[in-house]
Structure formats: C-alpha cells, structure tokens
C-alpha cells in the first residue's frame, strides 16, 4: 500500500499548506513512516479513505466543515488527524490520548523504530517544522536569516504562504 500521495493530500487539507510546500520540506516520508509504525493500518486506511470520499463527493478542496464532520469529530480518526497537524507544525510525535490508546492502539510488536511516546522525529524534521515560517521567522537554531535582520519590520502579510490550491 502506497499512502504517500494520500498522506500529502490529507496533510494539505489539515494544514492549509500546498502539497508542493509540504513535499519541499523533505520530511513527509519520515512522518508517514512514523504514522504507519504507530497507528494500526486499518485506521490509516479508514482515515485516507474518508478524505478521498469527502473529495469525491464534494470537491478537490472540500470545506473545513466537511473535514470537521468526517474526520476531526470522529473519535477514532480525529486524534490521528490532530497528531498529523502537530507533526507537520512542530516535528514532534505526541503520544495518542489515553482513551484512544485503550480503544484503538496496537501493542508494540518486536522493537519498532518508533513507539507511541513523545519524541522529536529527527534533527531535520525540527528544522522543517511549519510553525516557524507560519509565525514569520525561522527555526530557532537553523536557517539563519543574516546579520541585523531582526531589526527589519516584520511582514504585514498574514502569512508568508498562500492557501491550498
């Protein structure tokens, strides 16, 4: 099963960043690997399937309400979607909520590369966190903007990136 395309499409809807921008971070495949190691595959299939259905039944850019209805307010899929948003923004995997773990979590089998505990995905993932560009700066400790740039007037645009296409 190749979910990468599904993952990017859903991620774009959840973050309001374009697929190309998400691909440009270079860490989307790592995030999907984290996700597919920790979340049972049946749940991921349902999540991506739900988003495909929303798109098929409505439009390529469904309204936020449709995503709230079909995914975010779903007890099984909502917490997974929220973890995807947090991963893109902060590069951190957060442990799934306790009630979700009891109902849907899978016990660790063997010694998987990623466990359902809080961790920073990787050095590069930290640097690629979306939060930094969203708040109009750069990841603290990386992508140095240059001497004296902190004295410049901050951008007036509400965001340095446009909305999903």
């Amino acid at each position: 099963m190749d979910w990468l395309d599904d993952f990017y499409q859903l991620s774009a809807a959840l973050t309001d960043y374009k697929v190309a921008q998400l691909q440009g971070t270079g860490v989307g495949e790592d995030y999907l690997e984290v996700l597919s190691t920790i979340i049972p595959h049946a749940i991921l299939a349902e999540l991506f399937g739900s988003y495909r259905s929303i798109v098929a039944e409505n439009s390529a850019t469904p309204t936020e309400q449709l995503i709230r209805d079909g995914i975010l307010s779903n007890a099984k899929l909502g917490p997974v979607a929220r973890n995807i948003i947090k991963m893109w923004y902060l590069s951190i995997w957060y442990q799934m909520p306790e009630d979700w773990r009891q109902l849907y979590g899978k016990p660790n089998q063997g010694d998987p590369k990623y466990q359902d505990v809080q961790f920073v995905v990787s050095r590069n993932a930290y640097i690629q966190g979306l939060v930094w560009q969203t708040l109009g700066s750069h990841p603290m400790g990386a992508k140095q903007p240059g001497y004296g740039t902190w004295g410049d007037k901050p951008s007036d645009r509400s965001s340095i990136v446009s909305t999903t296409s």
Partner: protein, 619 residues
C-alpha cells in the same frame, strides 16, 4: 614508583574563568594544567567521524556540532538541552524544579533543595562551562554597586571600587569581544545620575553595537519621555541597547574570533535566534575560544573527565600541596582511577557552587565560616502580553536592549533595584511558545487548516515579554553545604542548598510589576501575565503573588572582602587561609547588583591572573 605531575598552576574548571587563567599564564610561559569534571569537544567543530582529517583520528570524536544534534532532537529545549547529562559530573536542570512543601527536601535533581524556596538557576558541567549557553550580556556594574552598605545601609561593600576594576573591564571586553558603544553604555543621557557609569575618555568597545531588534525600536519610540514615580521620586524609563559578547561589526583593526575548529564560521552574528541554549556558529563568545588560545601557547594542558574532589593541605605551610581527582573514561560508568597533581599555585575556577563544594569537602579555606554562604541569583520575574501590532517576535539574539534606568537610586535603601530585559523571543520563556503552546490550539481550541495558520501568523509575531532581573542581597543563610547522605555516582558530594528570597527583593519584584503595568498601559499591551501557586518560584508580598525564575547568575559563595573574619578571599582573590590558593568566578562577588555577572567576573579574573603571575615570581 609513583610520580606526581607538577605544574606552575593547577586550575580546576574549564569554563570562562579557568580558561582566562590558563590563557593568561600560559601566554607568559607558565606551565598550566586545567582539570575539567565534564566532557568536552576539544578543538573540534565538526564531528571527526564525518570530517576527514579533523580530530586526531582515534575513532569517533564528537565536535561542537554534536551538541546541535542533541539540541535539535531534545523535547525540552532548556538551557542545558544540548549538553547531555553526565552522571559523573551531574548538572542542575530547570526541569528538576518543583515547589518545596514545608519542611520537605527536594532531591529529584542534582541539587538537594531544602528551601523554603527552590534555587532556580542552573549551570553547565562541560568543557567551556556555562558560557556554552549564556546569552552573552556584558553589562558593567554601576559605581554605587560596589558600596551599597555605605550608600544605602544594605548588603556589603566590595574591597575594590569601580575605578579599580575599570581597566580590567576593558581587558575583558577586548578578549570576550563585546559589541557596544561606550557613549551609550555610560548612560550619561539618562536623567538618573545614580546609573551613570564613567568610561575612560577615548575608550570604545572592540565592535559596534549589535543592531536593535524591531521590538526594541518600537518600544523605544513608544516609551520616549516616559517616567515612573517610585517612592515619591520620578525616574526615567529609557530603552538602551545592551552590550553583548557577540560578534558584530569590528572597529579599527580588531578582528572577531570565529568558531573554534572552523574559524570561517561565526565571525558575525547571523541571527540564529538560539544564543540560549547554543549558538550554532559560535558568533556568541564561549570559553572554548579562550581555551583554544590557551592551548596555542603550548604551555597549557586540559584534562577533561577529571573531577577534583580533595585539596590536601601541607600543615607546616598551609599551602595546598596536592589536588586529588577522579578520572573516568565513560560518563555512564562509575569506574574511575584516582590521581594526584601538584601546583605551585592552585586556582579554583569550577563555578560558584562547585568551588564551595570542593572547599567544604576538603575542609579548606573556611576559617571565616563563609564558604558556601551568601548564594545569590537574580530572581527573574517575567511579564508578558501581546503588542497591538506585529513586532516580529522570535527573531534575533535573545535580548538586544533593556531598560537600565532603574538599576540605581535612593530607593535601594528600601527595596531592590532591577534591570529590565526586553525579550526578542516572544513567549518562549514564560509559555514555551511556540512548541509548548501550538498543541493547545489544535487539541483544545480545535483549530486546523487556514484558521490555525492565520491564528499563528497573526498572534505569534505580537508576542512580547519583559524580564525583571531583581537584585538579591548577600544572606549568610542562603547557602551551599554538603551532606554525606547525598552523593553522585562517583561518590562526590551533591550540593545541598538552603534558599529564600527576602522582603527587600520581594519589594523590588512588586515595584517591577508596577512599572510593567504602567508600560503595558502606555503601549496598549494585552496582558497575559499569570503567576500560579504551582510555579516553583511562586511567592507573595503584601498579599500579591509573584513568580521568579532563575537567571543562571550564581554569585557569592566565597565572597571577597577586606576582613579575613567575614570573607573568604582578599582583594587579590587569594584565600585568606592558604597562601597558594586563589579562587575565581562569580563566587568572589560580595553583591550581585543588577548586571549579569559574567563580564564583571571576567574582569576580576584577568586581574586575578595578573596577581597569580606576580605571586609566582616570588616563589
């Protein structure tokens, strides 16, 4: 047969003060050994396994860059995040802190905290010391700070004056590489004479002032001509750029020192916005630079992973005859060998808490009963809010300006002075933003997609915080002791700390909060400040709650004075009890005043190095 290595000078500690002693004496041909309890990266910037030819080739040798790996993947990006915990040279962490219940002892970190309030500051035990994560603020003390007992009937007088120390301030500013304008730092334009600092005519810092942040400039124009009334007297509120140990534009023939191991890097600050916990390019000064200079003299040897644990005294001469240390090869294993060295002169440069601990463990230098006492910090109270417009938070060095006009004045008879630091990194300190706050937007505020993006883009650039660094007076009951019950993995003592914050300082916090409230009103800042009883540093004063944080300014555990009965070292920074024992570091400072102490400590240490050199000539 065992032979004991012998040196002109044995220095305990490879932080800034130990590095200065080693470099100064090594450059004059003296044979110096530096013992460092923690690990180190030597002269490597890049990890030797990935960089051909770097290091000396024996397998994998971590360079400074390894600290960046640790930093990037650390969940809690606290000041010690890049510098891994080393059970053989443990260090305090801010995440150890909790409120201390009455008559309880907090033991879950390296410090054993007996309260009643927790001591909130930390330091780094690794080669380069706490300068690895300092902010780089290089303020001089005010002339009145050296004589607050005489001037205000509070605290202690120093055995030296500002004018005694001035030339050493210049030496320290040259060697650290400080960027600032002397005319501005003299505060002569501030209409409060108490804070004026005389600079030698014609003197200027080696580099031009670091540019002020957009926030600094916004605030400077917003507060123009503002005054506040304190104790019936009007005081100005002036925004002034802060002198920084960070490379800027050089003046004249001065050339900044770049990164150790890759000097093309770090010759000028590039705006990584990460001075604390680590400057990725070493544009900010750290003591590795001075250690590298020391090693270039070929007279200095640095031994890392060597923990000094006992100073032996010759009963006939009262000289320190030997330094005993434990050398380990693996930080995670308690296996070690005990070794001994001799020095004509011994210099303790291990940091305020560790110097006191080593003296207490050895039973040396304490005829005054002042070793470990008078521990001070700047209890740092934060206020935070949202500016009415974007001020570009999370950009640039952590702080590029402050409000120094309330550092001195007659009010010091009644309550503590403070300096206001303007923070450039939004709510990163008070709230852990953005990493600590964005999950709440997603999980509790139920934002996603465009709403989430627009909320972050419109709110976070408006985040702003003040830090109020409040003066704390020397109090013999605020102290470091040792207790055989509490030891680390190598069997060395853990510091036991008694600590409280006096009403004098609490009154300073209350005055600081008043000033903050007035400034917030003037600028139209939407306040978000909250002090919670669950905060480790929560305290009350006259019915109001306030929270302090640690500033990382550990001062005063072996104070200097003019009387051997009430101080640990004399004005030469030599132990009153042992003719060949010198102490350096912030522990020598009898008061903390309102300036970050590193520059004053460095100035004192250059002076101490000169004293040691002269003493060696007589031996």
């Amino acid at each position: 047969m065992n032979t004991v290595d012998e040196f002109d000078v044995v220095v305990v500690g490879a932080g800034i003060s130990g590095a200065i002693i080693a470099e100064q004496l090594g450059s004059k041909g003296k044979k110096v050994l530096v013992l460092e309890a923690g690990s180190g990266t030597g002269d490597r910037f890049w990890n030797s396994s990935t960089s051909t030819g770097a290091g000396s080739g024996n397998g994998k040798k971590p360079g400074y860059e390894s600290y960046m790996d640790t930093f990037f993947t650390a969940l809690a990006k606290i000041p010690n995040a890049p510098y891994s915990n080393n059970p053989n040279a443990p260090q305090p962490l801010v995440t150890d802190l909790e409120p201390i219940a009455q008559n309880q002892t907090l033991t879950n970190g390296y410090f054993v905290q007996k309260g009643p309030l927790p001591f909130a500051s930390t330091y780094t035990r690794a080669e380069g010391g706490t300068t690895l994560h300092w902010l780089g603020t290089c303020l001089r003390m005010l002339p009145e700070d050296f004589k607050i007992k005489t001037e205000f009937g509070r605290g202690l007088d120093w055995p030296i004056s500002y004018s005694d120390l001035e030339k050493w301030y210049q030496v320290a500013e040259e060697n650290i590489g400080v960027s600032a304008d002397a005319a501005e730092q003299s505060y002569s334009n501030i209409p409060n004479k108490a804070v004026h600092i005389p600079y030698e005519s014609g003197y200027n810092y080696p580099m031009e002032a670091i540019p002020q942040s957009y926030l600094d400039k916004y605030m400077s124009s917003g507060l123009r001509q503002m005054t506040v009334t304190l104790d019936g007297k009007d005081y100005p509120v002036d925004v002034v750029s802060t002198p920084q140990g960070r490379n800027g534009m050089p003046r004249g023939s001065y050339r900044p020192v770049g990164a150790v191991g890759d000097s093309d890097l770090g010759q000028r600050c590039a705006g990584n916005s990460n001075c604390v916990p680590i400057c990725p390019i070493q544009a900010k000064y750290n003591a590795l630079k001075t250690l590298a200079q020391a090693q270039k003299t070929h007279h200095v040897e640095i031994r890392t992973q060597c923990v000094a644990y006992n100073l032996e005294v010759d009963p006939a001469t009262q000289h320190i005859s030997k330094v005993h240390y434990k050398q380990y090869s693996d930080p995670n294993s308690p296996e070690h060998v005990c070794k001994t060295v001799k020095g004509k002169i011994i210099v303790l440069a291990a940091h305020a808490v560790e110097n006191a601990k080593l003296m207490l463990a050895s039973g040396v230098g304490n005829s005054s009963d002042q070793v470990g006492r008078n521990l001070m910090d700047h209890p740092t109270m934060l206020t935070w809010g949202l500016m009415p417009t974007k001020i570009g938070a999370f950009r640039g060095p952590g702080s590029t300006s402050g409000i120094p006009s309330l550092r001195g004045g007659d009010f010091r008879r009644n309550r503590a002075a403070f300096r206001i630091e303007i923070g450039n990194w939004g709510w990163s300190w008070p709230e852990g933003a953005p990493v600590g706050t964005v999950p709440d937007l997603i999980d509790q505020k139920n934002l996603f997609g465009a709403q989430l993006k627009q909320t972050i883009a419109s709110v976070y650039p408006r985040m702003f915080r003040f830090g109020f660094l409040v003066e704390q007076l020397p109090d013999p009951n605020n102290r470091v002791t040792i207790d055989p019950t509490y030891r680390d993995q190598l069997g060395n003592y853990r510091p036991v700390i008694d600590y409280d914050v006096s009403d004098y300082t609490r009154a300073g916090m209350a005055a600081a909060k008043q000033v903050s409230d007035l400034i917030f009103q003037r600028l139209g800042v939407e306040g978000f400040t909250e002090y919670k009883p669950s905060d480790p540093g929560y305290l009350t004063y006259q019915g109001q709650g306030y929270t302090y944080n640690g500033a990382g300014h550990l001062v005063g555990t072996h104070i200097m004075g003019s009387d051997s009965k009430t101080s640990v070292v004399n004005r030469d920074q030599r132990s009153w009890d042992h003719p060949n024992l010198y102490l350096v570091g912030c522990g020598n400072m009898p008061t903390i005043a309102t300036s970050n102490p590193t520059l004053t400590m460095a100035a004192l240490t250059y002076w101490a190095a000169d004293n040691v050199y002269k003493a060696l000539a007589d031996m």
